[in-house]
Symmetry: none
Subunit: 236 residues, 2 copies
DNA sequence: AAGTGGTCTAGACCACTTG
DNA sequence: AAGTGGTCTAGACCACTTG
């Protein structure tokens, strides 16, 4: 099955909302109506409505119906930016050094995160990013070798992994975890900081349509790097 | 039906994870095993596993099985959540202590952030939030006294500032800055950590329709608290 | 080959809101 | 009374991973 039926229905509803065809508070077709319209079972139509409700596009009310939500509270806090663009947008000079680019076996934790087989190698890259000559971020990235078989042939001194991956496997989804940590000795030396200085660590998992593309571990000195976010809650 | 069957199964799995009975990477029973064990259909058992996967507690892999996730991804960056709800959603006990609630003059930086006049007082509250009796977050909040004149009359031992502000001045917009810092001595004592432990600091500015409502500085021990986020990139 | 999760069906009974 | 969403069943076929 190429495209699941519930995905087709979701897309149909999204299209109507995004085009403005169904404005806020519009009643959308019921489970039974969609089931008939798309010639699927009610459970399949239901799944489409349910997933869009979880994503915040629809609101459901037992007995009353399903409606287009008041606001798309979109605009994500952590946009996934290319660090080179970010530095240059501040008018600063950007540079990066590729430290490692190899095939590497992974442990169980990473195997699960990457949805790859344990003990089988994946691709690994390690880069240090500089802003005006100062190290600002250590990027360690594990890449699903099935989805991006050409990864090892790149030169990440001239293009960032983010740029390359965006081109060959466009992002569809991402998760982040952010914590404050103490970096180990080697990382402190790379980043040019004392071991007592706290670091911000972002673990990012990225998906393309085919599945998990990469797991990136981004470590930045707490003093030099700041994450920002902006949320706009749309009015009715 | 008092409690749905899938909820009972979810609770059973959560209990095993939270008690440490099923540590990270543990394989959890398959859909068929759960269906037999709880005498339900496979679809019902599936729903329990699916919802826990969406919540980040489990990871699934077709053909391989379902496993306990590496981290319980904690608070969402996309939404501004009430910390009390967040703790309780993890099935943990929430408590908070109001340390300060007063009127206080502000410096120039805060005056600009709050869009208030310099050297004129604003309202200030300081709270310590606990999860299962452990301090997890110090909340320092400056509130625009013009927009929320009743702030000082509240008792923030029973309702969080976030809940109160949401009621009287509904959020329309927010910005965040996240950094890793070393907390000062007083803050370390409050949070029960050593001065060498890094902290995650979130600075949040919130708006209502009338203007800037508050500036909050949220400090959490890096080891105990993790921010998580989930982005879904909509297709064209 | 056996087990796993992913999708899907065609029914069922229920609680709830609406005209 | 008719329609809606919420829960649930007992099947089915498939793609995938593992021994």
């Amino acid at each position: 099955m190429a495209i699941p039926k519930f995905t087709v229905i979701k897309q149909h509803i999204c299209d109507n909302i995004e085009s403005g065809n169904w404005p806020q508070h519009t009643k959308v077709p019921s489970e039974n109506e969609l089931a008939e319209q798309f010639a699927v079972s009610r459970m399949t139509a239901r799944r489409a409505l349910q997933e869009l409700t979880e994503q915040g596009l629809l609101v459901r009310s037992q007995g009353a119906g399903t409606f287009v939500a008041t606001f798309k509270s979109q605009s994500s806090l952590l946009e996934i930016k290319n660090i080179a663009d970010e530095v240059e947008s501040r008018g600063h000079e950007y540079r990066s050094v590729q430290l490692v680019l190899e095939s590497r076996p992974i442990n169980e934790e990473l195997a699960i995160l990457l949805n790859c087989e344990r003990d089988k190698p994946v691709f690994y890259s390690e880069l240090l990013h500089f802003e005006n000559g100062e190290p600002i971020q250590l990027e360690q990235r594990f890449v699903n070798s099935k989805l991006v078989p050409t990864y090892l042939k790149q030169n990440f001194n001239t293009v960032t992994p983010h740029e390359y991956l965006s081109a060959v496997a466009p992002l569809t989804e991402a998760t982040h975890e952010i914590e404050a940590v103490v970096a180990d000795k080697v990382q402190c030396e790379l980043l040019g900081i004392e071991p007592s200085q706290p670091c911000l660590r972002v673990k990012r998992r990225t998906w393309a349509s085919q599945g998990v593309v990469s797991v990136a571990i981004l470590t930045s000195p707490g003093q030099k790097y700041r994450l920002g976010g902006h949320i706009i809650i749309e009015k009715e």
